[in-house]
Symmetry: C2
Subunit: 230 residues, 2 copies
DNA sequence: AAAGTCCTATGAAAATTCTCATCGTGGACG
DNA sequence: CGTCCACGATGAGAATTTTCATAGGACTTT
C-alpha cells in the first residue's frame, strides 16, 4: 500500500511519512507540484496526500491533470486554509477528502483508511479473500478462528495479491512496490517470502493458495470457491 | 556515500542504481533536469551521475547552476553522443569526468571511485583514519593487521564519521543519509550501531574512538595522535 | 522423447537490524 | 553541593530478511 505525499513543508512531509510508515504504509514524497504530478502520473499509488498551495503547480491543477489522464487515485487534500470555499472547490475538482492543517495523526490515518475502504474491499481494517482476513493493524492473517503474524514483506505481498483480485501479479511490480524501484533485491527474495506465506496458509488450513504462473508471477486462488469461471 | 543519478531512461537509471547499491553506495534518482537540479542543490551527494540530454533542463544547465551555487559535488557526465565536442564542452563547464553510453558497469564503478579519490582521502578502495582502514569492497575494517567485517549500517556510519574528519556529525544527518530522509528509524538505532562499532574498535585494539558529544552527535578521535589541537 | 536450460520452491543457516529494558552520566538548577 | 532529568550506552533477545545450495518441474530444442 503506497502513498504519495506532496507538500513543500519538508518537516510536515517527514512527519507524515514517518506516521504512515509506522502504520505499515509505504511512502514516496514530493516537494513541489511538478514532481508530485510526475510521480502521481506513474499511477502506482493507492492514495495521494496533496497540499493545495505548492510551488510550480498547485493542488487543483494536479488533480485536474490526473483526472484528465484517467487516473482515479483517491486524493486527500491538505491546506492551511480551512475556509469552506476551498473545501468545496477541492472536492468538486475530484479530491476525495479534505483535511485542514494542522491535524492529528489519528485523523489523518482515519481518513486514509476511509479512502482505501471506499476504493477497495476493506472492511474495518481488514482485507478479505476467501476464508482469509488480513489485518493491517498488526500485520496478521486470520483464518478459521486462528491468527498468525506476518513479517512486513509477507504482509505486503499478501496485501498486493489480495488487492489484485483475480489478476496475475508479476514479480517486477512486486519488487517495485514493496522493495522500491531502485532496489537490488533479486526475484528469489520474493520466492522465499511467498514460500513463507504458503507455509503459513497451510498452518491455517486455509482454502486459499498462491499459484505461480511460470514466467508471469503469482495469483491468488480460492480453493473453496466453486470451479465455475463465471 | 550517496550518489544521485539523473537520466530520463528509466531502465538505465534502475540498472545503474542496482549496480551502485550492490557496491555499497546509496542512491537517489531523478528523471528530469528540474528534479535532478532540485535534489543536487540539497548538497547531500558525494557524486552526481548526470545525463546531458534531459527533459526540462539539460545537463549543462544543471552543472552551471550547481557551480553558480558553489556546490562542487563531482559530476560524472553521461551521454549517448561520444563526439569530442560534447566531451570537451561538458568538462569545461565543470563536469569532472565523462562517460559515453553504453558503458560497462566496471568502467562506471572505476570512474566513480576515481572521483571519490580525488575529492576525499581514498587510497585504492580504502578510507583511512588513525590506525584504521575502512575497506569498501567487503565492508570491513582493518587495524593492526586484523580485519573485521562490518554490517552495512555500521559501515556507513563509520564511513561518514571518517569523511567528516574532525567535525562533529549530528544524528539527524546520519539518519538522513543512511536510513533515508523519510524513514521512521529512531535515534536509538544509531546508538545501537555505534555501540557495535565501538565494540569492534575494541576488538581491534584501535587507537581510534568514537566520542559522543551530548546533544550534538558523534566525532572520531585518534587517541594516538599527539594532544596538540593544531 | 531425451537433453538441456531456465524458472521456481524451499530448507537451513547466517546476517543484519531493531526493540526493549535498564543503567549510567553530564549538566542544569536550586 | 545535591537532586533531578534528559540523553546516551549497552546487553540481550527477537524478528526479519537475505543468502546459499539444491532439487524439482516446465518448456524448448533437436
Amino acid at each position: 500500500m503506497k502513498i504519495l505525499i506532496v507538500d513543500d513543508e519538508v518537516q510536515l512531509v517527514k512527519a507524515v511519512s514517518a506516521i504512515l510508515k509506522k502504520n505499515n504504509y509505504n511512502t514516496d514524497c514530493a516537494y513541489d507540484g511538478e514532481d508530485g504530478l510526475d510521480k502521481a502520473l506513474s499511477n502506482i499509488y493507492d492514495v495521494i496526500i496533496l497540499d493545495i498551495m505548492l510551488p510550480k503547480r498547485n493542488g487543483y491543477e494536479i488533480i485536474r491533470e490526473l483526472r484528465d489522464n484517467r487516473i482515479s487515485t483517491p486524493v486527500l487534500m491538505l491546506s492551511a486554509k480551512s475556509q469552506t470555499y476551498d473545501k468545496i472547490y477541492g472536492l468538486n475538482l475530484g479530491a476525495d477528502d479534505y483535511l485542514a492543517k494542522p491535524f492529528e495523526s489519528e485523523e489523518l490515518l482515519a481518513r486514509i483508511k476511509a479512502l482505501l475502504r471506499r476504493k477497495n474491499e476493506f472492511v474495518g481494517d481488514t482485507l478479505s479473500f476467501g476464508d482469509l482476513k488480513l489485518n493491517r493493524d498488526n500485520c496478521s492473517l486470520l483464518c478459521n478462528g486462528q491468527e498468525i503474524a506476518l513479517g512486513k514483506k509477507e504482509f505486503q505481498i499478501m496485501e498486493m495479491l489480495i488487492l489484485n483480485g483475480g489478476k496475475a501479479l508479476n514479480k517486477e511490480r512486486l519488487i517495485e512496490k514493496i522493495w522500491g524501484f531502485d532496489t537490488d533485491a533479486e526475484y528469489n527474495a520474493i520466492e522465499v517470502h511467498v514460500s513463507f506465506l504458503r507455509k503459513k496458509l497451510n498452518l491455517l488450513s486455509s482454502g486459499v493458495n498462491i499459484r505461480s504462473l511460470r514466467g508471469i508471477g503469482y495469483i491468488l486462488e480460492d480453493g473453496n470457491a466453486k470451479g465455475g469461471k463465471n
